[in-house]
Subunit: 273 residues, 4 copies
């Protein structure tokens, strides 16, 4: 993973999953907000979606493990060689992917059979993120300041996402909490890309001085900008989703929905104060 | 921001918002406590107030950004100049204001349209405070002991306010939690002023020895006194609000309210034990 | 406070309050558990008790402040003398007492008038404990290892008690959480006494080597023993309270209570699984 | 405890309890999920099981205390000898066992008499785990890097288990949270065994270099693998329990259960979205 691609791959994975989950979540909540009638028939659709998500997460983690182990001189599943540990960093990454793989399997089992409680996939997600965080925390012995710092920031986001995922598991059905967790996953994704550009610039030459305090201060700010962009992206998505659902509903079951919408709004404003 | 004004400005902003929110919150809860009849007609008023708050917060953050960027030799929106980062500390402050601006926008959207869930403005507030905290944490490389310490205390209050704002988002409708968050915002405000006086004394001469441990110990105590004053201020406000609402109600719908008040008190004392 | 008495006094205060609160709490919950009929007539009694508690806390904090300021060469309310801070440690302690005083006042106002929400006294308690913790954290610059360590342990218990008090404020009506908080207050009390004996042995001679790692390891264990004793003490109290309430009820309203008790037990065992 | 056996013993205890609790918990929840009719008659069975668990925990802790104090040159209940503390590390371990003993006693009292609230055994468990964590934190002065690191990891799991146990006490009746806590206890168990093999290899020769950073990085990964295995183990148990309960129910009250199962599934899928 000590390469541009090795950081861009998990970054893309995290961003893709975050992006998809926010989209699903926003559509679901906008839909719920506008009407409650046409809502129930999409239940089997949702269940099927969850299963496919599990499959995709599993495939991603298998790709990640394969990439780490076999491409560009990975450890090739050999743990101990010549009296010492064989490329321990590559194994670290494999371990992280492994837990996300377990999450995928849990999700598939959860939504195909009726054996496990449904929130167990949330719990596994939280565990997978915490393990990733833990691994990154024990990952950067003896590197340069900026290298350690950007990994620490990843640990920082990781800890937050893990906590939010755990809260989601405890609280249940809080759409905003779900959105927060997804935004933090996208955040991890974009930050992986940033790390790739800082530590392994694709131009080849070392454009970043890894021990300059000014760079550290810039990166800590840049970190916040990433999150600001993600928040704005989510805002735009929300507006689009709202416009889409509204225009679709206008065509369909108009009058009935209008009444429901009114009742809904009333109820909400009571909750509010 | 490395000046007296640069610290007094955000201090005043925080204090003003905290002061206003405590006032609103106290009036609301005293009102609710005394009567439930005349309560519902102020709902549109409340909604309009929330929108105006959003506008004020947005204006404050724009003022802050403008001040940081253009007044007294700020970076003037130039990020990179002469091969190095251009006044990175000024950019740090800009970033903090930016997130409070996003909070303002979220609040305006929340209460004008019906698209976003109402608690999203609370969540954005929590995020804005956490970002501020994070920025201050990465802000004081290579400064003197007292300088670092007073910023750390700000980080400390910030973390607490962020957590309380997040709890508010989770728990909802807990008036005391809201009051606690407001008191912590006022606390940040007065502490900004204290920092201005310690680090950039308006008299010009350096009256504070920034590496004296005695000063550090005094400031840690002074910090608590600030909060004690704020708590007492809130207490006084509560007494005033109570007296105001009572005297107003006495004129208006007297007999009816008396009964309600009695029922209310009964109910409460049952909750209590 | 740098004396045996200065540590024994707050220790006794904490222990007394913790002891009294556990007793009240246990009696209340045992009583509730055995019967629900004779329960309601003690409501005014409870309210009156709460007011007296507030008065006692206020008196304790005033005693503490007076002791710190005027006895055995305290700062005597002079903050700045001869160009430097006057006995800043004494002022630290005064600040801690001050917040407990505010808690007392809040409690008195809460239960005499009907203005403040009842949980505000809980919130103030949590704040007072956190302030105490914060002050102790910034209290031990340049002392010896064991001296710092025993204060750190106090900070440790303080943080826990503050958190539990805050949880109490959020959750409400969880008798065990209340008991936990009281046990932690008693813990602080006994630990103050331990500190007094370690740092200022009454025999006069320095019996403890304050830089010996063996002593540190013993004290960390001793710390746990304190808590074990407190837990056992609470267990004994529980047994006594149970026996007391049972024997009293047997004399009074026998048959009726028997039925209620049975119903109670049933209900509980349903909650349990 | 500074021996292979001294680490293997508590490891086996933790693993055994974790293993048993997961089994009980899984059986209970699978049973509940499949049917609600045959459920209630096992209530007295459950209560009796809880009592026996308390007895077992008490016996384990007594064994542990006896082993620490009297076997292979323990302190033999002498705390202070020849002017210094007598084998303070052995006393540390005794203290840890002591708190688990208190937990056992609490559980026995909880479920035999009706005096204590039922959740107090959960609270005591949380306290016992926190005390264990605290003791281990203050346990490794002046040891080698790997030795400290593996103990720190134990502290890390301990903190998590303590927090989860405390959450269990607060939230109640969340089967997955219970499972999570049990999995963390099993985790502690297997990690004790790992520590035994790393620090006191049974072959006798020092096969691990305790100051090699590569070993540290391997162990941090190994730590995660332990947990992955435990998660898989729990998954397998779940499948077995499910198959067992299903095959048993098929023989018994078939038609009736089928209907219930259907209703159950319906209800659940409503909760889910």
């Amino acid at each position: 993973m000590g390469s541009f691609k090795g950081h861009a791959l998990p970054g893309s994975f995290f961003f893709a999953m975050g992006f998809w989950w926010t989209m699903k979540n926003i559509l679901k909540s906008v839909y719920k907000r506008q009407t409650r009638t046409c809502y129930l028939n999409s239940k089997t659709l949702l269940r099927r979606t969850e299963i496919w998500e599990g499959v995709v997460v599993l495939l991603m983690s298998l790709t990640g493990i394969a990439g780490e182990q076999f491409i560009s001189g990975g450890p090739a599943l050999i743990l101990h060689k010549d009296g010492q540990w064989n490329q321990i960093l590559g194994w670290h990454h494999t371990t992280m992917y492994l837990f996300f793989g377990l999450q995928g399997i849990t999700q598939i089992i959860c939504f195909t059979t009726n054996v496990l409680p449904l929130s167990s996939s949330k719990l596994m997600l939280s565990i997978a993120i915490f393990v990733e965080t833990f691994m990154f925390y024990n990952h950067t012995h003896g590197r340069e300041m900026i290298d350690i710092f950007v990994h620490q920031l990843l640990v920082f986001v990781g800890t937050f996402s893990g906590l939010v995922a755990f809260l989601e598991f405890l609280v249940k059905n809080n759409a905003l909490l779900e959105l927060l967790r997804c935004s933090l996953l996208m955040f991890q994704g974009t930050w992986f890309w940033q790390m790739a550009f800082v530590l392994y610039p694709p131009s080849g030459s070392a454009t970043w001085n890894l021990s300059d305090i000014q760079n550290k201060m810039f990166l800590s700010m840049c970190f916040c900008w990433h999150y600001a962009s993600i928040l704005i992206l989510i805002g735009v998505k929300y507006a689009l989703a709202n416009w889409l659902v509204k225009s679709r509903l206008r065509k369909g079951c108009t009058s009935e929905v209008g009444l429901l919408k009114h009742a809904d709004r009333e109820q909400e404003s009571e909750e509010e104060v």
